[in-house]
Amino acid sequence: MKKPLWYEKLERWVEGDSPALPEPLAHVENPEPVKEEEAPVQHGPSLLRSAGGTAMNRLTTAFGILCCAIFALLMLTTVAYLPRFGDADNAPENETSRRYIEQGLEEVGATNLVTNIILVYRGFDTYGESCVLFLGATAVIMLLEADRKNTSQKDRLALRRSDALDEEERNQILGHITTVLMPVIFLYGLYILCNGHLSPGGGFAGGSILGGALILCENAFGARRVQSFFNHKVYHIIKVGALILYAVLICYTIYVGANGLPNLIPLGTPGSILSAGIILPINVAVGLEVACTMYAFYTYFGRGDL
């Protein structure tokens, strides 16, 4: 079966005008063997080297492997206890989901039922997620923070030089556009944050928009400008404060709900912005947490500092 001429022409045009067809093939073939050769040479010894070394190192590695094995075993045993596929009393058929849909609005008060579930009915779960964000950011800071022990004078000089170059190359176009767009993006992020109980959105979505806006700000105006309002102190206050606020609210709700006490936080009228009790402050707390984490990841991976 021979390809028609026009098809061959089109193919050649798509792959670039070069008349010699074997060239792209050779280009594709080349990286494969190189990768195969490099992979064992690079990975094998480096793993062995970290496993070898001192006895302490070997112990750490063994402990890590043991932890991983225990966790894998736990997960697999949990899988064995999962209900069978298509059983009559599986999650979609049982009474929990019906209660979420039928009484979620009057019990929790948010018109967005998904927010009801993730922030109140399953608020403890989401609290765990926020803790994961907190721990992730903390671990990144511990590993990547540039201090006296892991940066030489040379690294610091290189960073300063690149900062100076950035300052020189500070882009007029990006700066102007960011000046125009920054308030709009921040406003949009806050809107999504504060409307999480009324419409799709909420803490995680709004927080990532805010974090993206901060990153854009850093790119357009330089790290120093962002540091003027978002330094270590502000960062720690927001991060710890938001997590504590969330913890207090969720503990209060669980305590009140479990003991059948009257909930003192008013639910308000469903549909208005100040309604749904604890959902609005929790959304704001989660959003601030997410924004801080995103920006911290970005700057710590890039500069090793806020």
């Binding site: 882009n171 176009i173 990006l174 556009i177 125009v180 767009l181």
Partner: protein, 102 residues
């Protein structure tokens, strides 16, 4: 009826622009030429498709939102294209071997 045909023609033209840009991205082999092709989608493609959608919808809140999205696209995507090319030129010393740069 006439409006719908006009809208269909506009959306079709927009889709053709997107196809051309997509072909361009695959055909070109260097960053600067590739982003040149890809920028067609963000500017002409979105303009034609959104114009067709506005014609279909008539004037109203929906078309106002579409115009806002268009404004956002036109503000942001040329800037990001510009930044990508700037980074390429700053980091690649022999960029002019791949294509002519004025």
């Amino acid at each position: 009826m006439i409006l719908e045909i006009l809208a269909a023609v506009l959306i079709g033209l927009g889709l053709i622009c997107c196809c051309i840009a997509m072909f361009g991205v695959y055909r070109m082999d260097y960053v600067l030429t590739r982003i040149h092709a890809a920028a067609i989608i963000d500017t002409l493609g979105t303009l034609l498709i959104f114009a067709g959608m506005i014609l279909l919808r008539g004037l109203g809140w929906a078309s106002a939102k579409i115009l806002l999205i268009l404004a956002f696209q036109w503000l942001t995507s040329p800037v990001s294209t510009h930044r990508i090319s700037k980074v390429e030129i700053l980091s690649n010393p022999d960029y002019d071997k791949h294509c002519e740069v004025e």
